[in-house]
C-alpha cells in the first residue's frame, strides 16, 4: 500500500482512490491512538522533520505524535531557530535537512506554493501542513474522516462552511476534497472575505447564514482573526458574531443528526457560542483525535506502508 504520489501537497490533485486509501488506513491507526499502548514500529528507523515557518501548536504536535506513535525519529525546526533567518533559501534548507537523512519533511509556510517548491527540489517526501491561504490537506482529510466516521459515507453529504473563506486554506482543501468524494459544499461569509471565483472550485455561495446551514449534515465554522478589522474586512467582533457566528438560535431548527465542526483554535463566542462548542453536536475534540490518526496514515502510506 502506497500513495500514488511522493508528496502530499494538496487535495486539488489527489485522486479519490488515494483519499479513500488514507481514510481507510486512518481507521486502523485510530485504534492505536485511542488504545492504551500507543506504540507500533511501522516507522522504525525513519526520520520525520517538521519545518514550520508559522506558529502552530496543534498541527505540529499532531504530526510529531503521529510520527512518534509509529516509532519514527522526529525533529522540529521552527523558523526562529533556523538558518532561514540568516538568508538561506527554502530549497537549500530542504536539501540540508534531506542530506541529514530526513525521509519526510512536514512543512508549514506563510506562502502558498512553498511546499510545492520544496517537493520539486528534494527527493524526500513533503507533506503540506498549511501553505499560506492555499491548502491544508491534512486538516481537510481529518475533517472528512470525522464526517465519514459519523455518517458512514461522504457521498451525498451536505456541508456548510461559514466564515473567513478568503484566508482559509482549510476551506479550500475541504472544497477540493469533499467534491471529489461526492459531498456538496455551501459557503457563507462576509462579502469582503469571499475570494473571487470560489464557486468555480465547487461550492455554492449563499446569501444568508440560514440558507447556508439549512438542510446541512455538517456545519463547519472557520477561525476569524480579529486583526482583519485593521484591513477594513469587517467592522467589529460583535457585528461579526451577530451576522456570521453560530448560536443555538440559528442552529436549533437543524436536523437532530447534524454535527458542528471547527478546525481550531476557536474564538469562543465569536465564531460559535461556548454552548455550541461544548454541546452534544460539536465534534471539535473528535476532530483533534482523528487528526493524529489521519497523519499517522499519511506518514505510513508515504513510507511505503512498510510494516510490522
Amino acid at each position: 500500500m502506497k500513495l500514488a504520489t511522493k508528496d502530499v501537497l494538496g487535495l486539488e490533485h489527489m485522486t479519490p482512490e488515494d483519499i479513500e486509501l488514507i481514510l481507510n488506513t486512518a481507521r486502523d491507526m485510530k485504534t492505536i491512538v485511542t488504545g492504551r499502548m500507543k506504540r507500533v514500529n511501522y516507522l522504525q528507523g525513519r526520520t520525520v522533520i517538521t519545518l514550520f515557518f508559522e506558529n502552530s501548536t496543534r498541527t505540529r504536535v499532531s504530526f510529531e505524535l503521529a510520527a512518534k506513535y509509529m516509532g519514527a525519529q522526529t525533529v522540529n525546526v521552527s523558523v526562529a531557530s533556523s538558518s532561514v533567518a540568516k538568508g538561506e533559501t527554502l530549497i537549500d534548507t530542504g536539501r540540508t535537512l534531506e542530506a541529514m537523512g530526513a525521509d519526510i519533511i512536514v512543512i508549514r509556510h506563510s506562502q502558498a506554493g512553498a511546499p510545492h517548491l520544496l517537493a520539486k527540489n528534494i527527493n524526500a517526501s513533503v507533506i503540506n501542513a498549511g501553505d499560506g491561504i492555499h491548502e491544508h490537506p491534512t486538516q481537510a482529510l481529518l475533517d472528512m474522516y470525522t464526517m465519514r466516521e459519523y455518517f458512514g459515507t461522504l457521498k451525498g453529504l451536505k456541508v456548510a462552511i461559514i466564515g473567513d473563506i478568503y484566508h482559509s486554506r482549510v476551506a479550500r482543501s475541504n472544497i477540493f476534497g469533499l467534491n471529489k468524494m461526492g459531498a456538496s459544499v455551501k459557503l457563507y461569509a462576509p462579502a469582503t472575505l469571499v475570494p473571487p471565483g470560489i464557486e468555480k472550485l465547487g461550492a455554492k455561495l449563499c446569501s444568508s447564514i440560514e440558507e447556508a446551514i439549512s438542510g446541512c449534515d455538517v456545519v463547519m465554522s472557520l477561525r476569524i482573526q480579529l486583526e482583519r478589522q485593521k484591513k477594513a474586512l469587517f467592522p467589529s467582533a460583535s457585528e461579526y458574531s451577530r451576522f456570521f457566528g453560530l448560536s443555538p438560535e440559528k442552529t436549533e431548527h437543524l436536523s437532530e443528526n447534524m454535527i458542528l465542526m471547527h478546525p481550531g483554535p476557536v474564538n469562543r463566542g465569536l465564531e460559535m457560542t461556548s454552548s455550541l462548542i461544548d454541546g452534544e453536536k460539536s465534534v471539535v475534540n473528535r476532530q483533534v483525535t482523528n487528526g493524529v490518526a489521519v497523519r499517522m496514515a499519511l506518514l505510513y502510506l508515504l513510507t511505503g506502508g512498510q510494516n510490522q
Partner: protein
C-alpha cells in the same frame, strides 16, 4: 562598410514593396530600387525574406548599473540585436536610480563603447523613484534622456504626477506612467481572480491598474500635457484610453506580447516565470488588448524586457521578482499572435514595433527610406521554429515561452550600417 541587400521585400508601416535592392553606406540607406547595380563589401540575398526597419523598444530594463548579474548594457544590447531591436529605451530603476545626469551619462558612455544597438536612457520622474520630489529632469534631458518614468513603481501622489507632467512637458519629454494603485494592489502577487483563489495567492485587482490609468488620463486632460501609459494589461484600461482618445486627450499607450498571449493560468503550479507586474490577466482582458491593438487604441508594442537571475526566480512565488525577458520573443510572438491570426497586417505590426514607438520617443528611427539611418532587420516569417530559452543572448532566461512554436525569426540585424547580428543557419 557598404552592404547591398538584393531582392528584398521591404515592410514599412506604410506598406510593402517587393523585389527591391537596398544599398547601405556610411551608416545610411543610400539607395532603394529594383536591379540596383553597386559594388559592396557585403552582398546579401534576401529572396524569400522580409526587410523591416530595426525595431524600436520604448520599454526595457538593462539592469546596468547595479544589477549586472541579471543583464548589462553589452548583453542586453546583444539580446536586443538578436531579437531585431536596433533602438531601445531603458528604464531608470537601476542602482543607483537614473534620477540624475551622472547615471544617465554613465549609461550613454557605456552604451557608446559596448552596445551593439542604440541605447536611449529614460530618466526617473522622482528622486529615487520614491514618488515625492521631482528628479533633475532638465539636466537629465541635457545628458541625453528621451523620456521620464518611475517604471516599476507608480507615482502614487496625484499632485506629484500633475506637476511631473507640467514640468516634463516644459522640456518636451514624454512621461511614461506605470499605472498601479499600490493601495488597491495591497500585497498581491498575481491577478485577483479565479486563479489567485485556486492557488491561494493574494491578488492584484485589475482595478489597481485601471483606476490609475483613469487618473492619468484626467491629469493629462487637465494639464494638456501628453501621457504615455506603460504596459496596459486590463480591459478597463483599454476602454478608458479608447474613450480618452475619442475625446481628444493626448494619451498614448503600449502593451506587451505577454499581455496578448498569456492569461493568469500561466501561474499554475506557481511558475515564477509567469510572475510580472502588471500581472497576467484573464482571457477577457487578453481579447480586449487584441481589440485595442486592432482598432489603434494601443499605439505600440513594447517588450518590458525584465531579466532576472534564475536564483531569484527559483523561490516561493510571492518572493520572486516581477518580469520576463522579452527582446528575443517579441517579434515572433507578435507576428504569430497578431499577423498570422489576421488581427493586424504585417505593415500595421511593423508600425507598432518601429515607427510609432520612435515617434512617441521623438526619435528619427523606424523607417526604411533613402537617407534614413541604416537600422534594419531581415526576417524569415515563413519557417516555424521553437523558442529555446537556453539559446537566448540575454544573461537571463526567465521566460514563460520556452517551447512555444512561432514564426518570425530574425535572421540579421543591421544597426548604424553595421551587421550586429546574424543567425547561423544550421
Amino acid at each position: 562598410m557598404s552592404i547591398l541587400i538584393k531582392n528584398a521585400t521591404v515592410v514599412n508601416g506604410s506598406g510593402i514593396v517587393n523585389g527591391v535592392d537596398i544599398y547601405i553606406e556610411n551608416r545610411k540607406i543610400k539607395e532603394i530600387k529594383k536591379n540596383l547595380q553597386a559594388e559592396a563589401d557585403r552582398v546579401i540575398d534576401a529572396t524569400g525574406l522580409y526587410v523591416l526597419p530595426g525595431l524600436v523598444d520604448a520599454h526595457c530594463h538593462l539592469r546596468d548599473p547595479g544589477f549586472e548579474y541579471k543583464e548589462d548594457i553589452a548583453s542586453g544590447s546583444r539580446s536586443a540585436a538578436k531579437g531585431g531591436f536596433t533602438s531601445i529605451a531603458c528604464m531608470p530603476n537601476t542602482n543607483p536610480v537614473a534620477d540624475n545626469p551622472a547615471v544617465v551619462t554613465y549609461i550613454i558612455e557605456k552604451a557608446r563603447k559596448e552596445a551593439l544597438v542604440n541605447v536611449y536612457p529614460i530618466g526617473a520622474i522622482t528622486k529615487g523613484q520614491k514618488g515625492e520630489e521631482l528628479a533633475e529632469i532638465g539636466s537629465m534631458k541635457e545628458a541625453g534622456i528621451v523620456a521620464v518614468s518611475d517604471d516599476g513603481r507608480p507615482v502614487m501622489k496625484s499632485s506629484v504626477m500633475k506637476k511631473a507632467l507640467i514640468y516634463a512637458g516644459q522640456f518636451n519629454l514624454p512621461v511614461i506612467s506605470h499605472c498601479e494603485d499600490l493601495d488597491l494592489a495591497e500585497e498581491g502577487s498575481m491577478n485577483e481572480g479565479f486563479m489567485s483563489t485556486k492557488l491561494g495567492l493574494r491578488g492584484i485587482p485589475s482595478a489597481a491598474e485601471s483606476a490609475m490609468v483613469a487618473r492619468d488620463v484626467i491629469l493629462s486632460r487637465y494639464t494638456g500635457i501628453p501621457v504615455h501609459i506603460a504596459h496596459v494589461s486590463t480591459k478597463e484600461s483599454v476602454e478608458i484610453i479608447r474613450n480618452a482618445k475619442k475625446n481628444g486627450i493626448k494619451v498614448t499607450c503600449e502593451s506587451c506580447p505577454h499581455y496578448f498571449t498569456l492569461t493568469e493560468e500561466a501561474c499554475e503550479d506557481y511558475d515564477t516565470n509567469a510572475k510580472m507586474n502588471p500581472p497576467l490577466r484573464t482571457r477577457e482582458d487578453v481579447e480586449a488588448i487584441i481589440e485595442g491593438l486592432k482598432d489603434g487604441t494601443i499605439d505600440i508594442i513594447a517588450t518590458d524586457h525584465a531579466p532576472h537571475h534564475s536564483d531569484e526566480k527559483n523561490v516561493e512565488f510571492e518572493n520572486a521578482p516581477n518580469g520576463i525577458v522579452g527582446f528575443e520573443t517579441a517579434l515572433p510572438l507578435s507576428f504569430t499572435r497578431l499577423v498570422e491570426t489576421k488581427v493586424l497586417t504585417l505593415p500595421e505590426l511593423v508600425d507598432k514595433l518601429s515607427a510609432k514607438p520612435a515617434k512617441i520617443l521623438n526619435l528619427k528611427k523606424g523607417l526604411i527610406d533613402i537617407n534614413e539611418d541604416a537600422d534594419l532587420i531581415i526576417v524569415d516569417f515563413d519557417t516555424e521554429y521553437t523558442i529555446d530559452v537556453s539559446k537566448f543572448a540575454s544573461k537571463s532566461k526567465n521566460s514563460p515561452f520556452n517551447g512555444y512554436k512561432v514564426k518570425g525569426m530574425n535572421m540579421m540585424t543591421i544597426a548604424g550600417g553595421k551587421i550586429v547580428y546574424e543567425a547561423c543557419r544550421d
